[in-house]
């Protein structure tokens, strides 16, 4: 495997995947440095979510390398194994455990042993309680802790899912359209929160909302038809004629 992978937290090289002959991801290459935050943009169907599916083990690539931490081959692991390595994911459509309370949702995600016996005899420790309280504060759901997650608004579910992501204490966060369905104020707050997270962790964030991407102020990768069309600061890629043609110029 390539030396280019060395020192990176996430390394994709020439990754391809087809669904019934349709190439959703086509020779996609991408390198993320530790501590880096990267924004991914691209028109609908560009393959952004599919890329996350590949990294998190939901979809197996037909070819190409996917390496974590410069050495761990993610294509041989299952979803749970990849999550345990420290890769967390927030879904495009917010998915929380609807018949659990907000607090239980956080508890389930909290970094802890994941084995059957460990959870069977698990007893919430003081430090875990403190951590849960902190997280609820961060996502501003402290007063909703005993409410069933099903009763939350769309925006609140997004925040709960971000809270669950943080609870896992991942080293790499994959965040798919965190601002979808949020008010402008919530969107701005989400950008602030993500920037806060990016101080200590590596983040890949997919988003359509350009104001949001501008707020983040990070390197942008433009995906189109399953491969990278352009990469660089937002101002630079949005001046790129190819990008304008497929994405911004529509």
């Amino acid at each position: 495997m390539s030396e280019k992978a060395e020192g990176s937290i996430l390394y994709l090289d020439e990754v391809s995947v087809s669904f019934d002959g349709f190439r959703a991801i086509n020779k996609l290459s991408l390198v993320l440095e530790p501590g880096e935050m990267r924004a991914i943009i691209g028109p609908n169907g560009a393959g952004k979510t599919t890329m996350m599916d590949i990294i998190t083990g939901k979809t197996r690539p037909d070819s190409g390398d996917v390496l974590y931490d410069g050495k761990v081959d993610l294509t041989t692991l299952d979803e749970a194994g990849i999550a345990r390595l420290g890769i967390g994911r927030k879904f495009q459509k917010p998915t929380v455990f609807e018949s659990h309370t907000v607090e239980d949702n956080i508890e389930l995600a909290l970094k802890a042993r994941r084995g059957t016996w460990a959870t069977l005899f698990h007893r919430r420790s003081r430090s875990e309680q403190v951590r849960i309280d902190e997280l609820l504060q961060t996502i501003r759901l402290s007063d909703k802790r005993d409410l069933l997650a099903a009763k939350l608004s769309h925006g609140q579910k997004q925040w709960l899912e971000i809270g669950m992501l943080l609870a896992q204490e991942p080293r790499l966060l994959l965040v798919d359209e965190p601002a979808a369905g949020m008010t402008d104020a919530e969107t701005a707050e989400t950008a602030i929160l993500l920037k806060e997270i990016a101080k200590t962790q590596s983040v890949v964030v997919v988003e359509h909302d350009m104001t949001f991407v501008r707020d983040l102020g990070v390197k942008v990768t433009v995906l189109h038809e399953g491969s990278v069309l352009a990469e660089g600061p937002l101002d630079q890629v949005s001046a790129n004629p190819k990008v304008i043609e497929v994405y911004l110029g529509r």
């Binding site: 345990r84 998915t95 018949s99 389930l108 069977l120 007893r123 608004s153």
Partner: protein, 380 residues
Amino acid sequence: MLTYWLTNGFDRKAQIVTAVLVALAIVVPLGSLLPPDDSVLHISTYQVTLFGKYLTYALLALAVDLVWGYCGILSLGHGAFFALGGYACGMYLMRQIGTRGVYADPVLPDFMVFLNWKDLPWFWYGFDMAWFAFLMVILVPGLLAFVFGWFAFRSRVTGVYLSIITQAMTYALLLAFFRNDMGFGGNNGLTDFKDILGYSIQSPGTRAGLFAASALFLAFFFVVASALTRSKLGKVLVAVRDAESRTRFIGYRVEHYKLFVWTLSAVMAGVAGALYVPQVGIINPSEFDPAASIEAVIWVAVGGRGTLVGALIGAVVVNFGKTWFTGMLPELWLFALGGLFVIVTLFLPTGIVGLFARLKSLRKPPVAPVAVANQSGGAS
């Protein structure tokens, strides 16, 4: 660790259920044995046996609720585990007959003599010993469930497909046990039992004892199920039920959790079957009938899925109905059962328990609803 686990699980619901079952385990045997036959307090042996049978059904329903109500695995084959536990117990009871059979063979059960068999098949060895038989009551259903679950859950068979293969499993066993050369008595099954643990199986005292055992085993497993569902593992199970793939993405090996609860549930069903057989006095392949497994699911739906106590209530209520109906209008029972299922699914999705919960909340003054901003249409 274990004490915390049990005390945490021993909530008010579990306390009430345990209290009721322990009380039944004392009162019913006393009512059967102490008052004279013509007293109003007397409970006939027939009734003791009937109620005892309901309790074993309740244990089967509890097993179904654990996998279906909490983990979303709709098993349409739990009757297989129940029947296997029943057969293990029946084999023990057959070996207790000894020379009192029609052919008076000291070792071979009657049906084997009838088939002209000379030796006891190897898989009948050990069943003359109660401890061995009891071990098999647990091991055989547990092992079958483990192997079945290992393959099914690892290859991520879920939903309707899983339900269908559970049906196929019990149907395959039905056909196998019908065959005489399987060595389980063919379509007649195992019957004409004489003793259990040295006591005459027909005597009122033994009947009372079997009833008490059924009640106590049910109480025991109820506390276990309650502790389990209230533990963090129980929360993971519900998470799997609600959003399986999400659970994987936060690092839980879903197949391990399913396998654990599935196997435990099968063992519970097996114990239920083992308690059932000495009370009804027979075990035959009809217990493997897919329809029997479906009935167990209906009990849970009627009582209230995912509540544990609903499974018990549903099993007892529906079977009371069945006893009454089959006495009055036997040919209509299946229609009544089908109708009941449709009504519950359409109008009472939370079953009897849910109905009571709703009535209770109607009587109380409504609590001020928690303000929930809902900008974008809520649940998606």
